[in-house]
Symmetry: C2
Subunit: 464 residues, 2 copies
Amino acid sequence: MKKILLSLLLVSTVSFAQSDDEKQLKSIYSTSLTNGKSYAWLDHLSNEIGGRLSGSANAAKAVQYTKAELEKLGLDKVWLQEVMVPKWERGAAEEAYMITDAGKTELRICALGGSIATKEGGVEAEVIEVQGLDDVKALGKEKIQGKIVFYNRPMKPDVISTFEAYGGCVDQRYAGAKEALEYGAVGVLVRSMNLRLDDYPHTGSMSYGDVPADKRIPAAAISTNDAELLSKQLKKDAATKVSFTMHCKQYEDVKSHNVIGQITGSEFPNEIIIVGGHLDSWDLGDGSHDDGAGVVQSMDVLRLLKETGYKPKRTIRVVLFMNEENGLRGGRKYAEVAKEKGEKHVFALESDAGGFTPRGFSFDCSDENFAQVESWKNLFKPYLIHFFEKGGSGADIGPLKDDQIVLAGLRPDSQRYFDHHHAENDTFDAVNKRELELGAATMTSLVYLFDKYGTKRSKKIKGK
Amino acid sequence: MKKILLSLLLVSTVSFAQSDDEKQLKSIYSTSLTNGKSYAWLDHLSNEIGGRLSGSANAAKAVQYTKAELEKLGLDKVWLQEVMVPKWERGAAEEAYMITDAGKTELRICALGGSIATKEGGVEAEVIEVQGLDDVKALGKEKIQGKIVFYNRPMKPDVISTFEAYGGCVDQRYAGAKEALEYGAVGVLVRSMNLRLDDYPHTGSMSYGDVPADKRIPAAAISTNDAELLSKQLKKDAATKVSFTMHCKQYEDVKSHNVIGQITGSEFPNEIIIVGGHLDSWDLGDGSHDDGAGVVQSMDVLRLLKETGYKPKRTIRVVLFMNEENGLRGGRKYAEVAKEKGEKHVFALESDAGGFTPRGFSFDCSDENFAQVESWKNLFKPYLIHFFEKGGSGADIGPLKDDQIVLAGLRPDSQRYFDHHHAENDTFDAVNKRELELGAATMTSLVYLFDKYGTKRSKKIKGK
């Protein structure tokens, strides 16, 4: 009988706790939708500052702006963390032409981030179309030498997650030049990582690995419409040439910063939870989805916790990482410093998949911690948050990985992300206010739950 | 031992059947995403035809176009179903001004569908702001007489489903004029049903009930930005006037059509499943989301079943309803004819909530049929379709309701819907191809499952 009573008592305690959580989540979502700051911050970041490539004047402005905004929130501490970052500049606009018997047709291209410039006067050569790196190997020097290699394998349209489709193609952009130069190619064009047919070329990082400077060849992305056009023309006339000119340049590394703000935990200040996005962006648009959205949502997580009157038990930090796009120096630096200081990070959440309607999270953690997350699923149901899966988290928080931390990535609806990714049309008008605010609330809710209940790791720490 | 073997056999049969369904859904989604027709059809409907208000020349064009396109699909039967519809025209563009001591400021308004015109020279009067119909009652003749009533209760931003927020406001638009004229108001302005602050006025249907023509007063929607502006001004000066002019006109009913196409069932031809959207739209935009999307998705359901090689057991009809927006005559006519003919409809699915990423369906059906739907949830999981709830279905299929039919509505992500609903910016460029195609595939999948397994009703029919 006593046992039954005790059970009943436990059940009622549990359901009362549940109800507190329900109330807290409701308060978080309501506050974000009625009194969120993410959209106004993003407006400034996008429209007053703009594209924020690492090492640029805009990136420095973004550091100062977000630091100043965090300081207004009344956090316990706001600081900058120094980090050396690569500096690459596009220079004057690229030009490209397809040269056929009928004349010259302009092509929409953009340099890939990290590419060298073309030689004075540009590069002009016949084009060979391939479907990937293996094709280059198979064709060999005989077919590749002296040509422009045109990587044209499209993103698969019948994959539901567009990130998965991206993952199946992006080797062409990242490693295409390195592969092609081995066989004597003089330049590389890569079909833009975009599921739509349109006129925007999409940039993104590429690498020559350890190939010496004088062996490198210029690499550009071509819009999907122009990729289709070029491919069609090559079927008609394999001797079709392309000429292109680019003026990009790699400089010495420069000093930049991660921006960090903190609410110190009231019970377990040495257990650290971080939430973040990356402050740098590509230069073509204004980086609203990638990753202005993640930056302002992360900032609002701390603000929404305060606005809803929640006092974190653990230390909650917002980390705005520098240089995710072309170096990941900010993420590496943050983890390095954390290790040096012996800081115990228990949970890290990144938003770097656009400011679209949130669907859930993916997790990189132990089964035990994942089971805990799954026990919270019903709390998220009223907000249509349904996706809780094991998988990747985020590039910037990856360096923190150990066998106990819980890493997570916000997973918004992915269908429109690659319409804008790394292109001129990644702009503020493509972000919907409510979708952005729902994302901020969803992140805040998960941070709240991990703060309140801790993780397997934090329980071990407590048990010590 | 025998029993165990039998169980194993049963289990393997069940899992084999499951696997067939998985394959079929995969084929449906892949076909829609790689070889769908919905986007091309919508392009024509939106960009070649445009806004399609009932009784307009464009509505007639849309009937002819969709009939011709259905005829190309090799269905068993395509026909038009005659229906008389109301005809209302906006006429020349509306004009409106806020008149203050500082001068005249232009306001963005549009006539509500069904409103009368203003008298020659327009209406000009002081404005009284209210938060809803009850306020008008409470203020009474003394405060309302001779004034323009300005309904300014906004959609609630902290409701997750924007349709719910709409439902909480739309009485102002539909019944605001009828209420205000009872107390001597001379005109009505209604804050647009839009969660964003922008410059688009959003039209929509309104009704005077049985108020005679000479007692009616003109009613317009005002953009959310201008609603805010007017409200602020009224706080400064309660004697602020507004003048507005509208030229709209109601004509005699005219003949129009529902468009219907059919694949006749191979086993149970007398059990009918319908899938549809409405062909008419408001006149301000081109009706891409409302409800061009539902029209082309519904057409593609039959095409995708054919393309994937599926032969329906039951009769599957696409029904493109006329006049959902300002009369529902098409939906009523279809149900009336079905009843006259003694047709047995077992399942009806409508898409009329925009061409955004599909999240699931809401159902109006018995618990037994709903349990069947829930048993299919896992089949939809790979496509991130997670929302299966009891609730409303669709306006056009509503008249088919009886105690056995399963009615369902596609539920896409709702966050952006009211940015475009009934406004000038409900245009083709606001529809994402993949999102539209995912919706078509999701609808096709549910139709496939109901065709293959039947419903409680169809089982009863079979059992007879």
